[in-house]
């Protein structure tokens, strides 16, 4: 059967089980769009900026575990995708991005809207393709989805010249993939697993550091079994949040720059670190030279290149987290570690993570806590990047698997709203809250239009401090309060909501918080709450950049409150 390249793309998307595509069209991808109506199973969601197409596909992928798909035209369409692709790459999110390209005869001629898309995206994709032979399209499509999803997931881009989209060729869907050069290791080496089990069984102060790899491999039960059986406390990374129930007795929060003091202390005191599906990012480890000084380290990760990259490792295990844990759990003996756990509990009492100051002011931490209470911890929380992201991570408690969606590696402001769109599209039955900063929100708020158009009941909480808050905090602490370019004016977000047809309220006082959240929950569609929070509230604890986890600053607030306050209008 002869099909056009465009039809082949759609056939392959359907075969891969794709049900939604986020994108914006343009001349060089028009033939593909023109073919979409022939495939009603493919729902296309028109966004308002290609960055949002990529972030929405990302949010969709994180929420569902399936490959997110985004599409854009050549040139500016493709370059607008770049931030979203890079974001997905650093956080190992499975994504396929399809871009239009100028016709083959024009490639290399600086044609209108021609850009070297595969060149630009080379370092931020797991792999990419420029399709020069229409006959190879089915194979490339299949490979792309396989690569995106398997091993360490990541974004794969396919750049398709316009004349490839219109050319008719015989269509045969390949039954299998031949990629001799790509064979992810899943099983974990038995001898290494045995060594790891021995270390775990002999450790006195073991600690699990669990990352997003647990979520990707859906190894929740296996992680829990390991922790419970061997009685090992669990600390997660920022992106590992919600891979282990935070109300579990063995849960000790998350580590790193704004992690809990007791979690960071635990890392310092441990004699064995069991790192699972995490990559020792510098925001997690602080100064690597003084990271976990007394610990031997077991590192389980699917990507061999992560082993030994940032931290010396004693027992590396390359493999899929869930598969490896299954095997490891069989060799682990029931443990006690009563003194160690007691020690951690004492630290937790001494350094409560969740302390919220009693004050008249509207504190962001208080807002998050109330969102937690009203949603009964059942919501999926999607964030922007900044202080609000850290507060959302600290003060909401995540008991349900995979309910915290945030931009970790790239730290992309503007991620929140489009990722929430993707998460809601992927999981329409979940309650999705986008917790955003006024700065982050303004980077992608044009996509409120998408929310309305698709009738997505995304609830949006803007923690409005009138600053690029996280940077202001650095200026306050490390640049003698020189607030250069961080005071931020914004529009009236309630009116913005009205303009888009989204109900919105402004909250200035504590007692208005709960009613507003309830109103949002009770309304059927999207809802915006503009929380006018204390402008110069800081995120603590904090490990200063470059310092070791032991140098954590906890509550300098006591001394700091008396500092002269800048009046904000």
């Amino acid at each position: 059967m002869k099909l056009t390249g465009a039809q082949i793309v759609c056939e392959c998307l359907v075969k891969e089980g794709v049900d939604v595509i986020f994108g914006i069209l343009g001349g060089m991808i028009l033939p593909l769009y023109d073919t979409l109506p022939q495939y009603p199973q493919l729902r296309h969601i028109l966004v308002r900026h290609e960055q949002c197409a990529a972030h929405a596909a990302d949010g969709y992928a994180r929420a569902t575990g399936r490959v997110g798909v985004c599409m854009a035209t050549s040139g500016p369409g493709a370059t607008n995708l770049v931030t979203g692709i890079a974001n997905a790459c650093l956080d190992s999110v499975p994504m396929v991005a399809i871009t239009g390209q100028v016709p083959r005869t024009l490639i290399g001629k600086d044609a209108f809207q021609e850009i070297d898309t595969t060149g630009i995206t080379l370092p931020i994709t797991k792999h990419n393709y420029l399709v020069l032979d229409t006959n190879q399209l089915p194979e490339i499509m299949k490979e792309a989805f396989y690569l995106a999803k398997s091993g360490r997931p990541g974004p794969v881009l396919i750049d398709i010249p316009r004349d490839v989209q219109t050319e008719q060729v015989e269509f045969r869907y390949p039954s299998k993939i031949t990629l001799p050069s790509y064979k992810p290791t899943l099983e974990g080496h038995p001898a290494q697993i045995k060594k790891a089990a021995k270390l775990i069984n002999e450790a006195h102060q073991p600690l699990i550091l669990a990352g997003r790899g647990v979520i990707i491999s859906e190894g929740y039960d296996e992680l829990r079994e390991l922790a419970e059986k061997a009685q090992v406390p669990v600390v997660t990374t920022l992106l590992g949040i919600s891979c282990f129930p935070e109300s579990h007795v063995l849960s000790y929060g998350w580590l790193g720059m704004h992690g809990m003091a007791y979690a960071n202390k635990a890392v310092n005191a441990a004699d064995l670190i069991i790192a699972i599906g995490m990559r020792f990012d510098d925001r997690a480890t602080g100064n690597v030279n003084s990271f976990a000084p007394d610990a031997q380290i077991i590192h389980i990760d699917i990507d061999p290149a992560e082993i030994g990259k940032n931290i010396r490792v004693d027992v590396p295990i390359v493999g899929d987290v869930r598969t490896v844990l299954n095997k490891l759990n069989k060799q682990v003996v029931p443990g006690g570690h009563i003194d160690w756990i007691q020690q951690l509990d004492d630290w937790r009492k001494e350094h409560p993570a969740v302390l919220i100051r009693e004050t008249e002011e509207l504190l962001p931490q208080f807002v998050i806590r109330k969102i937690y209470e009203v949603t009964q911890g059942e919501a999926t929380i999607v964030t922007g990047v900044g202080q609000h992201q850290m507060w959302a991570a600290q003060h909401y408690w995540y008991d349900r698997p995979n309910t915290f969606i945030s931009s970790g590696g790239l730290g992309t402001m503007g991620f929140g709203l489009p990722a929430a769109i993707g998460a809601k599209v992927g999981c329409p039955d979940s309650t999705v809250w986008c917790i955003d900063g006024d700065g982050s929100f303004q980077m992608t708020m044009q996509d409120l239009a998408t929310i309305v158009q698709e009738r997505l009941a995304v609830k949006i909480a803007i923690l409005n401090n009138g600053y690029l808050g996280m940077v202001r905090q650095w200026q306050e602490l490390f640049y003698q309060r020189r607030y250069v370019a961080t005071p931020l004016s914004g529009p009236d977000f309630v009116k913005i909501g009205e303009a888009y047809g989204i109900p919105a309220v402004r909250v200035k006082r504590k007692e208005e918080v709960v009613p507003a959240i309830e109103q949002a929950m009770n309304s059927d569609g999207p809802f915006i709450i503009d929380f006018m929070i204390e402008p110069e509230e800081n995120v603590f604890p904090m490990v200063p950049p470059g310092a070791s986890l032991a140098e954590i600053i906890e509550e300098p607030r006591k001394e700091v409150v008396s500092w002269p306050r800048r009046s904000t209008s």
Partner: protein, 178 residues
């Protein structure tokens, strides 16, 4: 940390952009390439690449693993100097008048090099060997005046019957990181 020269031997798929992908990785991870040589291998659709880099063993192992991750790379190994054969080829155009030509030719003989082109005021010499040999020849010729020199960089293989890089499975366990 002490940096030394390391030789990486890679087997890669002949797909568009594979060289670009690898070179881009060197740049991104902050490695300087001393030399890189690529050519067809004995296998259909696959090329062999020999890369010489400077770095500590730990850095080079990290680089090797990153290269191995490139989807079109079948396999990469670091080959140790003791168990390999490595050669490079150089072309050297050196000034040679009737007065100096015989002296140049003597040197060429000692090095088992060849003269492949002769002009009125120069000769072009072809030499293969390890780096030291090529360096010493170039040094000796310098006195006559080198007009142009071009070197291929190493191509390398492991000695004896071991296969440096065969199209076998990727190693399931990383070498213990240093």
């Amino acid at each position: 940390m002490a940096t030394t020269k390391h030789i990486l031997a890679a087997l890669v798929m002949d797909r568009p952009g594979v060289l670009n992908r690898m070179v881009s990785l060197f740049r991104r991870r902050g490695f300087n390439i001393d030399s890189i040589a690529v050519g067809p291998s004995e296998l259909a659709n696959q090329s062999r690449m020999t890369i010489v880099v400077n770095g500590s063993p730990g850095m080079v192992e990290q680089l090797r693993k990153q290269l191995d991750k490139v989807v079109d790379v079948v396999k990469v190994l670091t080959i140790s100097e003791t168990s390999m054969v490595a050669r490079e080829l150089a072309l050297i155009k050196v000034k040679a008048t009737s007065a100096t030509r015989s002296e140049v030719m003597q040197i060429v003989d000692i090095f088992r090099a060849n003269i492949i082109d002769v002009a009125a005021d120069s000769v072009t010499i072809e030499v293969t060997g390890d780096e030291d040999k090529v360096n010493s020849l170039i040094n000796l010729l310098r006195g006559f005046g080198i007009k142009e020199a071009a070197r291929t960089g190493y191509i390398a293989m492991s000695r004896g019957s071991q296969d440096a890089v065969q199209a076998t499975e990727k190693p399931s366990e990383p070498a213990s990181p240093s």
